[in-house]
Amino acid sequence: MRTGVIALQGDVSEHVHSLKRAAAHMGIEIEVVPIRRRGTVPSCDVLVLPGGESTTLCRLLSQEGILEELVDAAHRGMPILATCAGLIVLASEGDELVERTGQRLAGVLDIAVRRNAFGRQRESFEAPVEVKGIGTFPAVFIRAPAVERVGEAVEVIATLDGRIVGVQQDNTVAVAFHPELTEDVRLHAYVLSLALGSGTTSSPCTTSSP
Protein backbone atom coordinates (compact mmCIF):
# COMPACT_ATOMS: atom_id res chain seq x y z
CA MET A 1 0.00 0.00 0.00
CA ARG A 2 1.32 3.43 -0.96
CA THR A 3 1.09 5.86 1.96
CA GLY A 4 1.76 9.53 1.30
CA VAL A 5 2.81 11.91 4.06
CA ILE A 6 2.53 15.59 3.20
CA ALA A 7 6.09 16.75 3.95
CA LEU A 8 6.02 20.51 3.56
CA GLN A 9 6.56 21.49 7.19
CA GLY A 10 5.95 20.07 10.66
CA ASP A 11 6.48 16.72 12.35
CA VAL A 12 6.72 14.54 9.26
CA SER A 13 9.26 11.94 10.46
CA GLU A 14 7.13 11.15 13.53
CA HIS A 15 4.19 10.25 11.28
CA VAL A 16 6.43 8.11 9.05
CA HIS A 17 7.62 6.27 12.17
CA SER A 18 4.05 5.75 13.44
CA LEU A 19 2.81 4.50 10.07
CA LYS A 20 5.62 1.95 9.80
CA ARG A 21 4.95 0.72 13.32
CA ALA A 22 1.21 0.53 12.66
CA ALA A 23 1.80 -1.47 9.48
CA ALA A 24 4.17 -3.86 11.26
CA HIS A 25 1.58 -4.28 13.99
CA MET A 26 -1.13 -5.08 11.42
CA GLY A 27 1.17 -7.40 9.50
CA ILE A 28 0.85 -5.47 6.25
CA GLU A 29 3.44 -4.05 3.85
CA ILE A 30 3.38 -0.32 3.18
CA GLU A 31 5.56 2.07 1.23
CA VAL A 32 5.78 5.54 2.80
CA VAL A 33 6.41 8.46 0.43
CA PRO A 34 7.03 12.04 1.55
CA ILE A 35 5.08 14.50 -0.60
CA ARG A 36 6.79 17.83 -1.22
CA ARG A 37 5.38 18.76 -4.62
CA ARG A 38 2.35 18.15 -6.83
CA GLY A 39 1.89 14.93 -8.76
CA THR A 40 2.35 12.33 -6.04
CA VAL A 41 -0.97 12.54 -4.18
CA PRO A 42 -3.06 10.83 -6.92
CA SER A 43 -0.76 7.76 -6.86
CA CYS A 44 -1.29 7.15 -3.12
CA ASP A 45 -3.78 4.82 -1.42
CA VAL A 46 -3.85 6.72 1.86
CA LEU A 47 -2.64 10.14 3.04
CA VAL A 48 -1.40 11.72 6.25
CA LEU A 49 -1.43 15.45 6.88
CA PRO A 50 0.92 16.24 9.80
CA GLY A 51 0.84 18.99 12.36
CA GLY A 52 2.92 22.12 11.99
CA GLU A 53 2.05 25.77 11.63
CA SER A 54 -1.24 25.99 9.74
CA THR A 55 -0.49 29.45 8.29
CA THR A 56 2.73 28.10 6.77
CA LEU A 57 1.20 24.77 5.71
CA CYS A 58 -1.79 26.37 3.96
CA ARG A 59 0.49 28.76 2.13
CA LEU A 60 2.86 26.02 0.92
CA LEU A 61 0.04 23.58 0.02
CA SER A 62 -1.56 26.20 -2.14
CA GLN A 63 1.71 27.44 -3.65
CA GLU A 64 2.83 23.90 -4.55
CA GLY A 65 -0.53 22.99 -6.08
CA ILE A 66 -1.05 20.16 -3.58
CA LEU A 67 -4.22 21.64 -2.05
CA GLU A 68 -6.36 20.85 -5.12
CA GLU A 69 -4.95 17.31 -5.26
CA LEU A 70 -5.81 16.86 -1.60
CA VAL A 71 -9.41 17.99 -2.17
CA ASP A 72 -9.75 15.63 -5.16
CA ALA A 73 -8.32 12.72 -3.22
CA ALA A 74 -10.71 13.30 -0.31
CA HIS A 75 -13.70 13.53 -2.65
CA ARG A 76 -12.66 10.29 -4.35
CA GLY A 77 -12.76 8.66 -0.90
CA MET A 78 -9.02 8.27 -0.26
CA PRO A 79 -8.54 7.67 3.48
CA ILE A 80 -6.83 10.68 5.10
CA LEU A 81 -5.54 11.20 8.62
CA ALA A 82 -5.06 14.85 9.60
CA THR A 83 -3.61 15.98 12.92
CA CYS A 84 -3.70 19.42 14.59
CA ALA A 85 -2.75 21.92 11.85
CA GLY A 86 -3.92 19.28 9.37
CA LEU A 87 -7.41 19.50 10.88
CA ILE A 88 -7.41 23.27 10.29
CA VAL A 89 -6.23 22.83 6.69
CA LEU A 90 -9.11 20.45 5.88
CA ALA A 91 -11.87 22.55 7.51
CA SER A 92 -14.45 24.46 5.50
CA GLU A 93 -14.71 27.38 7.88
CA GLY A 94 -12.14 29.11 10.09
CA ASP A 95 -12.15 31.77 12.77
CA GLU A 96 -11.07 35.41 12.63
CA LEU A 97 -7.40 34.34 12.80
CA VAL A 98 -7.81 32.26 9.65
CA GLU A 99 -9.55 35.22 8.03
CA ARG A 100 -6.86 37.70 8.97
CA THR A 101 -3.94 35.57 7.81
CA GLY A 102 -5.73 34.84 4.52
CA GLN A 103 -5.39 31.07 4.92
CA ARG A 104 -6.92 29.09 2.08
CA LEU A 105 -8.65 26.07 3.62
CA ALA A 106 -9.31 22.83 1.74
CA GLY A 107 -12.99 22.67 2.75
CA VAL A 108 -12.95 18.88 2.77
CA LEU A 109 -14.59 18.61 6.19
CA ASP A 110 -17.89 20.35 6.87
CA ILE A 111 -16.68 21.88 10.13
CA ALA A 112 -15.76 25.26 11.62
CA VAL A 113 -12.47 25.37 13.54
CA ARG A 114 -11.05 27.68 16.17
CA ARG A 115 -7.26 27.97 16.10
CA ASN A 116 -5.32 27.87 19.39
CA ALA A 117 -8.63 27.06 21.09
CA PHE A 118 -6.94 26.03 24.34
CA GLY A 119 -4.44 28.89 24.44
CA ARG A 120 -0.77 29.40 23.70
CA GLN A 121 2.11 26.94 24.22
CA ARG A 122 2.05 27.58 27.99
CA GLU A 123 -1.48 26.10 28.01
CA SER A 124 -0.55 23.05 25.89
CA PHE A 125 -1.26 19.78 27.69
CA GLU A 126 -1.45 16.00 27.72
CA ALA A 127 -4.71 14.30 28.65
CA PRO A 128 -6.41 10.95 28.09
CA VAL A 129 -9.23 11.32 25.55
CA GLU A 130 -11.96 8.85 24.64
CA VAL A 131 -11.91 8.16 20.91
CA LYS A 132 -15.01 6.50 19.56
CA GLY A 133 -14.39 2.87 18.67
CA ILE A 134 -10.77 3.02 19.81
CA GLY A 135 -10.93 3.73 23.52
CA THR A 136 -8.83 5.93 25.77
CA PHE A 137 -6.07 7.63 23.82
CA PRO A 138 -3.03 9.44 25.32
CA ALA A 139 -3.62 12.75 23.55
CA VAL A 140 -0.99 15.50 23.25
CA PHE A 141 -2.46 18.95 22.57
CA ILE A 142 -0.01 21.59 21.31
CA ARG A 143 -1.47 25.04 20.65
CA ALA A 144 -4.36 22.89 19.53
CA PRO A 145 -7.47 23.87 17.58
CA ALA A 146 -11.01 22.73 18.42
CA VAL A 147 -14.02 22.12 16.23
CA GLU A 148 -16.83 24.59 16.89
CA ARG A 149 -19.49 23.42 14.45
CA VAL A 150 -20.03 20.17 12.57
CA GLY A 151 -22.23 19.54 9.55
CA GLU A 152 -24.65 16.63 9.19
CA ALA A 153 -22.20 14.41 7.35
CA VAL A 154 -19.64 14.70 10.11
CA GLU A 155 -19.32 12.25 12.96
CA VAL A 156 -17.78 13.43 16.21
CA ILE A 157 -15.27 10.78 17.38
CA ALA A 158 -13.60 12.57 20.30
CA THR A 159 -14.46 15.31 22.78
CA LEU A 160 -12.61 16.84 25.68
CA ASP A 161 -14.41 18.73 28.40
CA GLY A 162 -17.33 19.34 26.06
CA ARG A 163 -15.20 20.48 23.11
CA ILE A 164 -14.94 18.54 19.86
CA VAL A 165 -11.36 17.36 19.23
CA GLY A 166 -11.86 14.55 16.72
CA VAL A 167 -14.13 14.11 13.68
CA GLN A 168 -14.66 11.78 10.76
CA GLN A 169 -16.43 12.53 7.48
CA ASP A 170 -16.46 9.65 5.01
CA ASN A 171 -12.86 8.41 4.93
CA THR A 172 -11.28 11.57 6.33
CA VAL A 173 -10.30 11.41 9.99
CA ALA A 174 -9.07 14.55 11.75
CA VAL A 175 -7.95 15.08 15.34
CA ALA A 176 -6.84 18.21 17.18
CA PHE A 177 -4.11 16.32 19.03
CA HIS A 178 -0.89 14.54 18.02
CA PRO A 179 -1.04 10.71 18.02
CA GLU A 180 2.34 10.66 16.21
CA LEU A 181 4.12 12.08 19.26
CA THR A 182 3.18 9.01 21.28
CA GLU A 183 3.88 5.32 20.78
CA ASP A 184 0.16 4.63 20.36
CA VAL A 185 -0.46 3.82 16.69
CA ARG A 186 -4.16 2.92 16.81
CA LEU A 187 -5.29 6.00 14.83
CA HIS A 188 -2.67 5.37 12.14
CA ALA A 189 -3.73 1.71 12.04
CA TYR A 190 -7.35 2.76 11.74
CA VAL A 191 -6.69 4.92 8.67
CA LEU A 192 -4.60 2.14 7.09
CA SER A 193 -7.50 -0.24 7.74
CA LEU A 194 -9.85 2.16 5.92
CA ALA A 195 -7.54 1.91 2.91
CA LEU A 196 -7.65 -1.88 3.14
CA GLY A 197 -11.42 -1.62 3.10
CA SER A 198 -11.77 -3.21 6.50
CA GLY A 199 -12.79 -0.10 8.41
CA THR A 200 -16.25 1.43 8.39
CA THR A 201 -17.20 5.05 8.82
CA SER A 202 -19.28 4.36 11.88
CA SER A 203 -16.96 2.16 13.93
CA PRO A 204 -13.23 2.85 13.98
CA CYS A 205 -11.26 -0.39 14.24
CA THR A 206 -9.92 -1.44 17.57
CA THR A 207 -6.34 -2.42 16.91
CA SER A 208 -4.98 -2.76 20.39
CA SER A 209 -2.42 -0.39 21.79
CA PRO A 210 1.16 -1.67 21.35
Binding site: A7, L8, Q9, G10, D11, V12, S13, E14, R36, G51, G52, E53, T55, T56, R59, L60, C84, A85, L97, R100, T101, R115, N116, G119, R120, Q121, R122, E123, S124, F125, E126, A127, P128, V129, E130, V140, I142, R143, L160, D161, H178, L181, T182
Partner: protein, 298 residues
Protein backbone atom coordinates in the same frame (compact mmCIF):
# COMPACT_ATOMS: atom_id res chain seq x y z
CA UNK B 1 -12.50 13.66 31.66
CA UNK B 2 -11.08 14.65 35.01
CA UNK B 3 -9.28 17.96 34.98
CA UNK B 4 -6.57 16.59 37.30
CA UNK B 5 -5.57 14.30 34.43
CA UNK B 6 -4.42 17.33 32.41
CA UNK B 7 -0.63 17.60 32.43
CA UNK B 8 1.17 20.78 31.37
CA UNK B 9 4.80 21.45 30.46
CA UNK B 10 5.91 17.83 30.11
CA UNK B 11 9.05 16.92 28.15
CA UNK B 12 6.79 15.48 25.44
CA UNK B 13 4.84 18.73 25.07
CA UNK B 14 7.98 20.87 25.01
CA UNK B 15 9.79 18.71 22.46
CA UNK B 16 6.56 18.23 20.53
CA UNK B 17 6.22 21.99 20.09
CA UNK B 18 9.77 22.12 18.69
CA UNK B 19 8.92 19.26 16.28
CA UNK B 20 6.05 21.31 14.83
CA UNK B 21 8.60 23.93 13.72
CA UNK B 22 10.55 21.44 11.55
CA UNK B 23 11.14 22.39 7.95
CA UNK B 24 10.38 26.00 8.81
CA UNK B 25 12.06 29.37 9.10
CA UNK B 26 12.02 31.34 12.36
CA UNK B 27 12.61 35.06 11.85
CA UNK B 28 13.94 37.74 14.20
CA UNK B 29 11.57 40.72 14.48
CA UNK B 30 11.68 43.92 16.49
CA UNK B 31 8.15 45.25 15.90
CA UNK B 32 4.57 44.19 15.16
CA UNK B 33 4.99 45.41 11.56
CA UNK B 34 8.03 43.20 11.00
CA UNK B 35 6.22 40.26 12.62
CA UNK B 36 3.35 40.67 10.13
CA UNK B 37 5.84 40.69 7.25
CA UNK B 38 7.45 37.49 8.61
CA UNK B 39 4.07 35.76 9.00
CA UNK B 40 2.96 36.74 5.50
CA UNK B 41 6.26 35.43 4.11
CA UNK B 42 5.59 31.99 5.63
CA UNK B 43 7.68 32.05 8.83
CA UNK B 44 6.72 29.24 11.25
CA UNK B 45 7.47 31.47 14.24
CA UNK B 46 9.01 34.82 15.07
CA UNK B 47 11.70 35.70 17.60
CA UNK B 48 10.90 38.98 19.35
CA UNK B 49 13.90 41.07 20.36
CA UNK B 50 14.69 44.73 20.91
CA UNK B 51 17.32 44.85 18.16
CA UNK B 52 18.52 42.35 15.56
CA UNK B 53 22.02 40.92 16.18
CA UNK B 54 23.66 43.19 13.57
CA UNK B 55 22.38 46.25 15.47
CA UNK B 56 23.27 44.78 18.87
CA UNK B 57 26.77 44.24 17.53
CA UNK B 58 27.01 47.80 16.16
CA UNK B 59 25.51 49.47 19.24
CA UNK B 60 27.68 47.74 21.85
CA UNK B 61 26.68 48.08 25.52
CA UNK B 62 24.66 45.51 27.44
CA UNK B 63 22.01 43.64 25.43
CA UNK B 64 18.98 42.49 27.45
CA UNK B 65 15.50 40.94 27.12
CA UNK B 66 13.15 43.06 24.97
CA UNK B 67 10.54 45.41 26.45
CA UNK B 68 7.46 43.31 27.43
CA UNK B 69 5.26 45.97 25.83
CA UNK B 70 6.89 45.30 22.45
CA UNK B 71 6.66 41.53 22.93
CA UNK B 72 2.92 41.81 23.69
CA UNK B 73 2.39 43.96 20.60
CA UNK B 74 4.11 41.29 18.52
CA UNK B 75 2.04 38.52 20.15
CA UNK B 76 -1.13 40.46 19.32
CA UNK B 77 -0.07 41.03 15.74
CA UNK B 78 0.48 37.42 14.60
CA UNK B 79 -1.09 33.97 14.95
CA UNK B 80 2.17 32.02 14.62
CA UNK B 81 4.21 31.24 17.78
CA UNK B 82 6.23 34.07 19.32
CA UNK B 83 9.62 33.33 20.89
CA UNK B 84 11.83 35.78 22.77
CA UNK B 85 15.41 35.90 24.02
CA UNK B 86 16.79 36.04 27.56
CA UNK B 87 20.37 36.39 28.74
CA UNK B 88 22.25 33.18 29.59
CA UNK B 89 21.51 32.30 33.21
CA UNK B 90 18.93 35.07 33.67
CA UNK B 91 16.09 32.98 35.08
CA UNK B 92 14.13 36.07 36.15
CA UNK B 93 13.95 37.37 32.58
CA UNK B 94 12.75 33.87 31.66
CA UNK B 95 10.05 33.96 34.37
CA UNK B 96 8.88 37.31 32.98
CA UNK B 97 8.62 35.91 29.45
CA UNK B 98 6.74 32.86 30.73
CA UNK B 99 4.34 35.18 32.59
CA UNK B 100 3.75 37.10 29.34
CA UNK B 101 2.79 33.84 27.60
CA UNK B 102 5.68 33.70 25.12
CA UNK B 103 5.63 30.33 23.27
CA UNK B 104 9.35 29.53 23.50
CA UNK B 105 12.30 31.12 25.29
CA UNK B 106 15.74 31.44 23.66
CA UNK B 107 18.54 31.45 26.24
CA UNK B 108 20.83 33.30 23.91
CA UNK B 109 24.49 34.20 23.62
CA UNK B 110 23.44 37.08 21.37
CA UNK B 111 22.46 38.96 24.54
CA UNK B 112 25.06 39.76 27.19
CA UNK B 113 25.34 36.76 29.57
CA UNK B 114 23.99 37.33 33.11
CA UNK B 115 25.76 34.38 34.74
CA UNK B 116 29.22 33.09 33.85
CA UNK B 117 28.75 29.70 35.52
CA UNK B 118 25.13 28.62 35.30
CA UNK B 119 22.65 28.25 32.51
CA UNK B 120 18.96 28.42 33.47
CA UNK B 121 17.45 25.28 35.03
CA UNK B 122 15.00 24.95 32.20
CA UNK B 123 13.17 21.96 33.69
CA UNK B 124 11.55 24.36 36.18
CA UNK B 125 9.58 26.05 33.40
CA UNK B 126 6.34 25.16 31.61
CA UNK B 127 7.45 26.99 28.47
CA UNK B 128 10.01 25.18 26.28
CA UNK B 129 13.52 26.56 25.69
CA UNK B 130 15.87 26.72 22.73
CA UNK B 131 19.61 27.07 23.39
CA UNK B 132 22.65 27.64 21.20
CA UNK B 133 25.45 25.09 20.76
CA UNK B 134 28.69 24.88 18.81
CA UNK B 135 29.44 21.19 19.30
CA UNK B 136 27.83 17.97 20.51
CA UNK B 137 28.94 18.30 24.14
CA UNK B 138 27.46 21.79 24.42
CA UNK B 139 24.21 20.63 22.77
CA UNK B 140 23.83 17.64 25.15
CA UNK B 141 24.59 19.77 28.22
CA UNK B 142 21.80 22.16 27.22
CA UNK B 143 19.39 19.25 26.61
CA UNK B 144 20.34 17.86 30.04
CA UNK B 145 19.33 21.22 31.55
CA UNK B 146 15.95 20.89 29.80
CA UNK B 147 16.34 22.55 26.39
CA UNK B 148 13.64 21.26 23.98
CA UNK B 149 15.42 22.55 20.89
CA UNK B 150 19.02 23.29 19.87
CA UNK B 151 20.25 25.84 17.37
CA UNK B 152 23.80 26.10 16.11
CA UNK B 153 25.28 29.38 17.27
CA UNK B 154 26.99 30.47 14.08
CA UNK B 155 28.23 34.03 14.41
CA UNK B 156 25.09 36.16 14.75
CA UNK B 157 24.80 39.54 13.07
CA UNK B 158 27.64 38.99 10.59
CA UNK B 159 25.78 37.70 7.53
CA UNK B 160 28.74 35.29 7.24
CA UNK B 161 27.52 31.68 7.25
CA UNK B 162 30.94 30.10 7.86
CA UNK B 163 30.52 29.56 11.62
CA UNK B 164 27.00 28.08 11.30
CA UNK B 165 28.41 25.62 8.76
CA UNK B 166 31.32 24.78 11.04
CA UNK B 167 29.00 24.07 13.99
CA UNK B 168 26.50 22.02 11.97
CA UNK B 169 29.27 19.92 10.40
CA UNK B 170 30.94 19.40 13.75
CA UNK B 171 27.75 18.28 15.55
CA UNK B 172 26.70 15.94 12.72
CA UNK B 173 30.20 14.50 12.46
CA UNK B 174 30.42 13.90 16.20
CA UNK B 175 27.05 12.11 16.13
CA UNK B 176 28.22 9.86 13.27
CA UNK B 177 31.36 9.17 15.27
CA UNK B 178 29.33 7.79 18.17
CA UNK B 179 27.85 5.03 15.99
CA UNK B 180 31.11 3.08 15.89
CA UNK B 181 31.70 3.12 19.65
CA UNK B 182 31.35 0.24 22.08
CA UNK B 183 29.54 0.69 25.40
CA UNK B 184 32.86 1.28 27.22
CA UNK B 185 33.87 3.84 24.63
CA UNK B 186 30.53 5.63 24.92
CA UNK B 187 31.23 6.02 28.63
CA UNK B 188 34.56 7.66 27.82
CA UNK B 189 32.90 9.82 25.18
CA UNK B 190 30.37 11.02 27.76
CA UNK B 191 33.22 12.12 30.04
CA UNK B 192 34.97 13.89 27.21
CA UNK B 193 31.71 15.58 26.12
CA UNK B 194 30.90 16.49 29.76
CA UNK B 195 27.40 15.18 29.10
CA UNK B 196 25.31 12.47 30.83
CA UNK B 197 25.94 8.94 29.56
CA UNK B 198 22.20 8.33 29.02
CA UNK B 199 21.97 11.25 26.56
CA UNK B 200 25.15 10.14 24.77
CA UNK B 201 23.72 6.62 24.42
CA UNK B 202 20.40 7.96 23.16
CA UNK B 203 22.15 10.14 20.57
CA UNK B 204 24.30 7.20 19.41
CA UNK B 205 21.19 5.03 19.03
CA UNK B 206 19.05 7.66 17.27
CA UNK B 207 21.97 8.92 15.15
CA UNK B 208 20.62 12.42 15.68
CA UNK B 209 20.16 14.78 18.60
CA UNK B 210 17.24 13.75 20.86
CA UNK B 211 15.66 17.17 20.13
CA UNK B 212 15.16 19.27 17.01
CA UNK B 213 18.30 21.05 15.75
CA UNK B 214 17.99 24.28 13.76
CA UNK B 215 20.79 26.22 12.08
CA UNK B 216 21.40 29.86 13.00
CA UNK B 217 23.88 32.69 12.94
CA UNK B 218 24.96 34.37 9.71
CA UNK B 219 22.24 33.15 7.31
CA UNK B 220 21.82 35.93 4.72
CA UNK B 221 20.64 34.31 1.45
CA UNK B 222 18.31 31.51 0.31
CA UNK B 223 21.40 29.52 -0.69
CA UNK B 224 22.83 29.85 2.84
CA UNK B 225 19.60 28.47 4.29
CA UNK B 226 19.53 25.57 1.80
CA UNK B 227 23.20 24.77 2.51
CA UNK B 228 22.47 24.31 6.22
CA UNK B 229 19.43 22.14 5.44
CA UNK B 230 21.65 19.98 3.21
CA UNK B 231 24.05 19.58 6.13
CA UNK B 232 21.24 18.16 8.26
CA UNK B 233 19.48 21.10 9.94
CA UNK B 234 15.79 20.55 10.83
CA UNK B 235 15.04 24.21 10.02
CA UNK B 236 16.62 27.66 10.05
CA UNK B 237 16.67 30.79 12.21
CA UNK B 238 17.26 34.01 10.29
CA UNK B 239 18.09 37.19 12.16
CA UNK B 240 19.63 40.27 10.61
CA UNK B 241 19.62 38.57 7.18
CA UNK B 242 16.04 39.60 6.48
CA UNK B 243 15.46 43.08 7.85
CA UNK B 244 19.00 44.21 6.97
CA UNK B 245 18.51 43.22 3.33
CA UNK B 246 17.30 45.60 0.63
CA UNK B 247 13.84 43.97 0.23
CA UNK B 248 12.87 42.15 3.45
CA UNK B 249 9.52 40.81 2.10
CA UNK B 250 11.14 39.23 -0.93
CA UNK B 251 14.14 37.91 1.00
CA UNK B 252 11.92 36.39 3.72
CA UNK B 253 9.65 34.57 1.25
CA UNK B 254 12.66 33.37 -0.78
CA UNK B 255 14.35 31.89 2.31
CA UNK B 256 11.12 30.05 3.24
CA UNK B 257 10.99 28.57 -0.28
CA UNK B 258 14.67 27.70 -0.16
CA UNK B 259 14.24 25.75 3.08
CA UNK B 260 11.35 23.87 1.53
CA UNK B 261 13.19 23.08 -1.75
CA UNK B 262 16.68 22.83 -0.25
CA UNK B 263 17.65 19.85 -2.46
CA UNK B 264 16.40 21.29 -5.75
CA UNK B 265 19.01 23.60 -7.39
CA UNK B 266 16.59 24.57 -10.17
CA UNK B 267 14.06 25.99 -7.71
CA UNK B 268 16.82 27.53 -5.60
CA UNK B 269 18.09 29.35 -8.70
CA UNK B 270 14.56 30.60 -9.34
CA UNK B 271 13.90 31.89 -5.82
CA UNK B 272 17.36 33.49 -5.53
CA UNK B 273 16.79 35.76 -8.56
CA UNK B 274 16.49 39.53 -8.24
CA UNK B 275 16.21 39.77 -4.47
CA UNK B 276 18.25 42.99 -4.30
CA UNK B 277 21.17 43.44 -1.94
CA UNK B 278 21.46 40.92 0.88
CA UNK B 279 22.66 42.32 4.22
CA UNK B 280 26.10 43.91 3.88
CA UNK B 281 27.71 41.73 6.57
CA UNK B 282 31.16 41.42 8.06
CA UNK B 283 33.51 38.50 7.66
CA UNK B 284 33.45 36.44 10.87
CA UNK B 285 37.23 35.95 10.49
CA UNK B 286 37.90 39.63 11.01
CA UNK B 287 36.23 39.66 14.45
CA UNK B 288 38.41 39.84 17.53
CA UNK B 289 37.91 37.41 20.42
CA UNK B 290 35.95 40.09 22.33
CA UNK B 291 33.61 40.72 19.40
CA UNK B 292 32.66 37.05 18.90
CA UNK B 293 29.23 36.13 20.33
CA UNK B 294 29.48 32.36 19.83
CA UNK B 295 32.07 31.94 22.58
CA UNK B 296 29.51 33.05 25.20
CA UNK B 297 28.06 30.04 27.02
CA UNK B 298 29.94 26.78 27.51
Amino acid sequence: MKLEELRYGTELIKRGFASMQKGGVIMDVTSAEQAEIAEAAGAVAVMALHAVPADIRAAGGVARMADPQKILEIMDAVSIPVMAKVRIGHFVEAEILEALGVDMIDESEVLTPADVQHHIDKKQFTVPFVCGARDLGEALRRIDEGAAMIRTKGEAGTGDVVEAVRHMRLIQGEIRGLAALTQEELRLAARRLEAPLSLVEETARLQRLPVVNFAAGGVATPADAALLMRLGADGVFVGSGIFKSEHPERMAAAIVEAVHHYDDPQTLAEVSKGLGEPMRGISARTLSEQEALQTRGW
